[in-house]
Amino acid sequence: EPEVTQTPSHQVTQMGQEVILRCVPISNHLYFYWYRQILGQKVEFLVSFYNNEISEKSEIFDDQFSVERPDGSNFTLKIRSTKLEDSAMYFCASSGTSGEQFFGPGTRLTVL
């Protein structure tokens, strides 16, 4: 059964450093998303991506965040200068025409 994969599973970084979180969406899906979940809080939308451009972004997704689909399979989230409050689980998701979003296992980002 096709699934969304994410790497790394856990990333530890120092405040101010850049991190890149990677995702491989389900192969025939066209819509890609990043969500995050701070420990003990709800899952929050960050950004959606379709046809090689951002289709929607939340207030959280400020200038320090960027997304890219560098090739036909990968989808990345870059945080340019990490802050302590960026510590969270980051989930990638993808969907086809049905609108049902399938999530990856997540990357736990810890900013020290």
């Binding site: 709800k42 899952v43 929607e56 989930f91 609108g99 979003q101 999530f103």
Partner: protein, 112 residues
Amino acid sequence: EDQVTQSPEALRLQEGESSSLNCSYTVSGLRGLFWYRQDPGKGPEFLFTLYSAGEEKEKERLKATLTKKESFLHITAPKPEDSATYLCAVLRHGGATNKLIFGTGTLLAVQP
């Protein structure tokens, strides 16, 4: 403002003791309501999509129903392996948005 509220926050059941989880929503035009299961440290696992009031879907011991204001996830004769956090999310009509708006979840513990 779009809002999703889940209750109870936590629920403890004995194995075989049936119950229901509630998801009430306020959204400007519902395009779909989604139920996910989330195990600790993992990504949300898709369970059901409901699109219109009166719709019902079933999967093993789970049954999801939808009205114009809320959705219920009924769990019949639960087993310990059903222990998880159950998340509800809505997708609203309007524009190009595919943003899921999540509730805070119900933490279900099923004791043998």
